[in-house]
Symmetry: C2
Subunit: 395 residues, 2 copies
């Protein structure tokens, strides 16, 4: 855990150099009550109770100013080169450290558009302005959004290892589930089985238990964010899953499909096979194209075109999102240039980012065919973290 934090804090210094920002300040208190969402990356799971300042500078200084009784825990973390305990108030020491660093910009965690980069409360912002009153630094506050997006997006080796482990556990649970499946089971029964398997392994779920997994039995099941229903899977139908676990703080997010052969069938009907193949192809084409510098909407367009050119209706969501500590990590996404996605599809792919690829299509009378794979962007292109489903499982 502390290795992870050490790596992220070191990475933050590189990002400040790249973005040409002199200082990044994360300013928090009573994090047990409400924590800045960036804190797990640069501080970990511990608490910071009194006013606490985490200062990371472009010149490589990493300073934590914390209540005296928490200083030892911060020291043990090994991520901060200077841990400064205080007894009465943080104001004097914080002002003095900032003056010593004399930054031209101080990035703080405030953002109109991204809650992940908006961890500074308005009360703490005012508190900071009071501390910096009568100094030149009160006018040098800038938003840390770009720093946070880069830091969250670019996974370190340690973070990737954890995502891989979450993906692997998810694939094992899928195999157990495929062995458990029988025609006539309800979405609810199947979902309960998968949740039990996750709990039995000591794993959390990647999103809300109400719809993790989503299980869609046949063509009448509502697709989207609603939870599993009492609908029962019938022969001749497609069963669709969307599932992820949280393991050591990191998530997976995977979709799979299974076809239940009708009486007398020894293989899926051609239209089912074709729909499946189109979704597989959309994922493979997008993954093959992915490389650092490509923009999110360019990747989206590749997968989307495979589906629409094959004559299917266009899916009404983005092809993929980032994945990490959260099933939907912030920053850039692989989406179309629709208004509701704002600027997020216009960001370039970067080495270390982990994306989902999840095109889909509806087959009337059969069900929803959606696959979702998890990939990491490397210097040489996308590498699959999941073992892509390329064969339609028939039961």
């Amino acid at each position: 855990m502390s290795d992870l934090v050490q790596d992220k804090v070191a990475q933050a210094v590189q990002i400040l150099q790249e973005k040409e920002v002199d200082l990044w300040l994360t300013f928090v208190r009573e994090t047990m009550l409400a924590a800045d969402p960036i804190l797990p990356l640069i501080y970990g799971e511990g608490d910071l109770t009194w006013h606490s300042a985490l200062l990371i500078s472009r010149s490589g200084e990493r300073i934590a100013i914390v209540g005296h009784y928490e200083a030892e825990a911060v020291q043990r973390l090994g991520a901060y080169t200077q841990v400064i305990p205080y007894h009465h108030g943080i104001g004097d020491v914080l002002r003095e450290r900032i003056a010593a660093l004399d930054p031209r910009q101080i990035a703080v965690n405030t953002s109109l558009s991204d809650p992940l980069a908006d961890g500074l409360t308005h009360g703490m912002y005012r508190y900071l302005l009071n501390i910096l009153a009568d100094t030149p630094y009160a006018n040098r506050l800038v938003p840390s959004e770009e720093i946070i997006h880069a830091l969250v997006g670019r996974k370190t080796e340690g973070e990737l290892a954890r995502i891989r482990a979450a993906v692997e556990a998810t694939e094992e649970i899928f195999i157990e589930t495929f062995n458990f499946l029988r025609p006539g089971q309800s979405e609810r029964e199947i979902a309960a089985f998968m949740q039990q398997r996750a709990a039995g392994r000591g794993l959390g779920l990647a999103w809300s238990a109400e719809n993790c997994p989503a299980v869609n039995a046949g063509p009448d099941s509502p697709i989207g964010h609603s939870g599993p229903t009492d609908l029962r899977i019938q022969r001749g139908q497609i069963l669709h899953f969307d599932f992820g676990v949280r393991k050591d703080g990191f998530c997976s997010d995977i979709q799979r499909v299974v076809y239940f052969l009708a009486e007398g069938e020894s293989q899926p009907p051609p239209e089912v096979q074709r729909g499946f193949d189109v979704v597989v192809e959309a994922i493979q084409k997008a993954a093959q194209a992915m490389k650092p510098g490509l923009l999110g909407y360019e990747v989206d367009a590749i997968a989307r075109r495979v589906v629409t050119q094959a004559g299917y209706e266009e899916y009404m969501y983005g092809t993929g999102h980032q994945l990490g500590r959260r099933a939907h990590d912030g920053g850039g996404m692989l989406g179309p240039l629709w208004e509701r996605y704002g600027d997020s599809p216009k960001k370039p792919l970067e080495v270390g980012q982990v994306y989902t690829l999840e095109p889909g299509l509806m087959l009337p009378g059969r069900g929803y065919i959606g696959l979702e794979e998890d990939v990491v962007v490397t210097a040489h292109g996308a590498e699959f973290l999941s073992r892509p489903q390329q064969e339609l499982i028939c039961l």
Copy 2:
């Protein structure tokens, strides 16, 4: 759960009337990522994803403006008289609702001093100002601190029932622990036993697992926030516990002491019995004095005086704090007028507030004698929620 929320939202209307504030606005987004700490009281455990506004007015209107796909969940809650779904942006409908209510004050969750009342991020504050630009309302924002303190402090029947249940479970675990105790056990072993008992009942801990319970074996154990050590309890020593559980979202916080009779002793030595009796008396005297309107520091002084007048060193912390969803709930406390407690000991006791009473004293060569009871303020005085320890348990 939704009963609890309904009651709190109804109570908020009364508090607005009492405080003469026209409107209280809680303005949030992506609460899964970072939630305003007041949200469990007025919304519960569900998520609010898009920009969401909870408006509670002095005239009794309770309006929730939320993303369309979450409207049904808010409706089901039954706490809001109007649930307004939106599709594109919250700005127009929020501005229009506020204009219709035409409030002279809009309380928002921002506070320099209390993190519990500081749930509004700086980004969301700016977003709100943008929405209210060119209206008279941008200049009518006031802090909601007093509303939040009253709402958190004054427990409803449903909240009290949950705290009672947490206290009862804690007392049962203490009895199991007393039966488990043997001389020579380490603080760590004893703490692990208690945590297992809590987990076995499906209970959470009231504070961080590292020091919940605190277990202090004899005079050499460090008192305070450090966790259990490998120190072993010896005959002739005092064993001290500080423990609480979280049950259905509410906490207990109880201290108990046990004396291990030395070889040949059939009762505790007089100095141990006397120290115990003094702490019991301090709690009883404070509880007898407690009534609505008394100020926190007045209660503190009563318990503190019992200890110092008996010739013991003064304990260097407040006699009690509020208890509820958190082991340390915000608002007024029973503390001395020391600088570090600010104004919090100057607040009057109110009906429905739950306080701990936890005086203590150190007996050289024996250990720490600290008891902690939980009481609720009623119109007629304090009522014990815990069964006060009035006999020194000897093993």
